[in-house]
């Protein structure tokens, strides 16, 4: 760990930022020294991103001031922030997929050969940065061809190319594979050691423990504590965030395993770019069982889930059956009618409709059922009662049922999706990354819900890149590598090391 000897490069004093109906930041104080990683920790909606957007000039605070290297500065726009040597890696990438890496880096910069672009020069600059921090990436490929990890490198290069001294990373690891996380951390440490100041935001406590020099905890927009990895541990951090004791792993009562509910045999699926993504997979999940799918992302998990959900066509010879009924030929709706439910990996894209109200998202799947409609007409009274029931059951924090879903925080949206998917006691659930980007409190809640359903006899597939989650939740763990099942191991006695080897494709 580097010692925090660097001078203070950023100081945010009593920052207050309101949104309609929300006090996102409540006179927050926050500072960053040169050569340190300062972590912001907090539940969904705690105000982390807001605070950073204020720093980056995307929002103007109602109160408070920002000092850069001691001098009070009013940051009016991202461009202004960039000129102040501040860089930001957003929660959602700010890249133009159809432009090349070099073009994305060159955007907004003065070209040497105006009116023409000067991509050669930019490429050279990129090469230098790549060498310095080991950020290997080809400047001439289009962004859409890059993996998530590579895209993130481009984001970092963009910041460094603009000579950023203070770099903000908002949940940079949420979308990365364990390997990519390690590479990223190596890079970040290099940057820290070269005297840059880093702000790190993550919901994964072991990452926070591994990378941080200092940790500041936000709750409901207020700073509720500051600490360092040395003087705390994961469960301490967790309770600081949530304000109470939290169980990091749900306790699972022993239920006796029932008959097979989801049976997959010889399932093969093509990926987006043609190549085989899922390759002759055989799986069986029984009533009252949670099967965890571990694996480095991009090894066929997404395709597997989508194939089961009926969103992706399977190759001939594949069979999928739910409660003994062959569903391979059915469309998504019929599979759901057959007892399937599905929590997609991409929450905001596939899971919920941002412009729909909370209520509308809660009935997105069952809107056509006779419970909610008769003779093609909605029964609004029934819908109302049903939805407010779910909202209270799942402790969804929302002003009203009519609130546009997009204005809720990630955790709450995920709760809505889960509530919807569990509403009519499905026999099989496919849950992809159920708690990615979701704070501990919400994650704990979601886990316990999944376990309850399992106890009532649901067959569950939990796909996650978070080994802690898989180990904590699953009864059996199947490890995917290159679209093949490397092995299926009972959770008892399974170790991260063992799984890590399997994920890397090494069979013991």
């Amino acid at each position: 760990m580097a010692t925090n000897t660097g001078e203070v490069m950023l100081e945010m004093r009593n920052i207050t930022k309101r949104f309609p109906g929300v006090l996102a930041n409540d006179s927050v104080n926050f500072d960053v020294r040169a050569g340190e990683v300062h972590t912001l920790l907090g539940e969904n909606g705690a105000g982390k991103s807001t605070l950073m957007k204020v720093l980056f000039g995307l929002y103007q605070p109602e109160e408070g001031e920002i000092l850069l290297n001691g001098t009070p500065t009013k940051i009016t726009s991202p461009t202004h922030a960039i000129n102040q040597r501040i860089g930001m890696i957003h929660q959602h990438f700010m890249l133009v997929p159809t432009l090349t890496v070099a073009e994305n880096v060159a955007l907004g910069l003065k070209s040497g050969r105006r009116p023409l672009t000067d991509l050669k020069a930019v490429a050279r600059g990129i090469a230098d940065i790549s060498d310095e921090y080991g950020l290997a990436v080809d400047p001439n490929v289009d962004i859409w061809r890059l993996s998530v990890g590579e895209r993130q490198r481009v984001e970092i290069i963009k910041a460094l190319y603009r000579k950023a001294e203070l770099l903000v990373l908002d949940e940079p690891t949420a979308v990365l594979t364990p390997q990519e996380v390690d590479e990223l951390f190596a890079i970040l440490r290099d940057m820290r050691n070269s005297g840059k100041g880093l702000v790190f935001i993550s919901h994964k406590l072991h990452e926070v423990m591994a990378l941080s020099d200092r940790i500041t905890v936000l709750r409901n927009g207020k700073v509720t504590g500051a600490t360092t990895p040395a003087e705390s541990d994961r469960s301490k951090l967790a309770s600081m965030m949530v304000g109470r004791e939290v169980k990091l792993a749900p306790d699972k009562p022993l239920v006796e395993i029932g008959k097979p509910r989801l049976t997959i045999s010889n399932l093969s699926v093509d990926g987006d770019r043609g190549a085989v993504a899922v390759d002759g997979v055989d799986l069986e999940i029984r009533a009252g069982e949670i099967l965890g799918i571990a694996g480095v992302s991009g090894n066929g998990q997404r395709e597997l889930a989508e194939a089961i959900a009926g969103l992706r066509s399977v190759k001939s010879g594949s069979t999928i059956s739910i409660d003994g009924k062959d569903v391979a030929g059915m469309d998504t709706r019929d599979r759901r009618n057959a007892g399937l439910s599905y929590v997609p990996e991409e929450r905001m894209r596939d899971g919920a409709i941002g412009d729909f109200t909370v209520a509308e998202n809660l009935i997105l799947v069952d809107h056509g059922s006779d419970e909610f409609s008769a003779r093609g007409m909605f029964k609004f009274a029934e819908i109302e009662t049903h939805c407010s029931q779910l909202v209270s059951d799942y402790a969804v924090k929302t002003p009203s049922l009519e609130t546009p879903t997009s204005s809720l925080s990630g955790g709450n949206i995920q709760k809505i999706i889960l509530a919807r998917e569990l509403a009519n006691e499905p026999s099989v659930m496919i849950a992809s990354q159920p708690t990615r980007g979701v704070d501990i409190g919400a994650a704990e809640y979601i886990h316990s819900r999944l376990v309850d359903a399992r106890d009532r006899g649901m067959a569950t597939m939990v796909i996650s890149e978070d080994l802690d989650e898989v180990l904590g939740l699953a009864d059996r763990i199947a490890v995917l590598c290159d679209g093949k099942v490397m092995d299926i191991v009972p959770v008892e006695g399974a170790t991260k090391e063992q799984l890590g080897l399997l994920m890397a494709g090494v069979k013991s």
């Binding site: 929002y59 991202p78 700010m94 133009v96 159809t98 955007l107 907004g108 023409l116 672009t117 963009k158």
Partner: protein
Amino acid sequence: MLEYLEAIFSVAVLASGIRLATPYLLAGLGETVGQRSGVLNLGVDGVMQLSAFFAYWTVLVHENLWLGIGVSVLVGLVMGIIYAIVTVFFEAQQGISGIGIFLFGLGFSDLMFQKNVGTPRFVKSLPDVRIPVLSDLPVLGEALFSHSVVIYGAFLLVPAVAWLLRKTTFGMNVRAVGENPQAADSLGVSAQRTRFIAILIGNVLAGLAGGALVLQLGVFQPNLTQGLGFIAVALVYFGAWRPSGVMVGALLYGLVAASVLQLKALQLIPRSYSDIAAMAPAVLTIAALVILAGRVKAPAALTRPFARH
């Protein structure tokens, strides 16, 4: 059969097709720039009619073709400014505000014509310029190199626009803003300014298209374009937002139309089916799209107004 092919693959049809294609090409190129920046303009046809009328009127009064061309460009510029303000600053629904521009152009040009001209009178139309050596080339020389300057200009604009979009900083910004304005904006590339300029370019070319059309004919009539501008917009989709693609589309459209005329002129199409034959360009365009489509994607931010929170 053979006679049909002979009729279609004749120098005359080629020349005629090129003439017919030019207004589509000019308007399409302009619309390409606009759409690449994320702005759909369904008002092209209206802009063309306005610029066509004012170009015609100018030449009628001042008997100066170049002044006419200039005026058509000017009209395009003015309409561009209006449309840019509406769509960029007021974030207006693009498809529909375009219809507004169209209706205005259609009605106002008609109004002006009836008030200021009335009975159609001819003005001198753009002269053909035979390019010395080239036009004497056997077979195609005559068809390709004996046209008015605007036609040469239109086709020279194809590489020019491609160059603008590919090689220049402005072009890069246009592509970025059309794909992900938030990203561009976060790097200090003003989506608003970029789109504003792109819209101006688009409308200026639409204006030029109107001027070219009317000065080619040497006479104006209400609703001169007969929906030409809408087809030009369609051809941008057809051309997959690439100048070269738009050129192919425009030529296809023009050549099919010319071929049909030639077949009719040679009485190779029974008269009673003349309307069915007249469907050919539209039908073929759709057919070609069924084959092409899916492979290309529209600019992701097309028709999405950009607003910073």
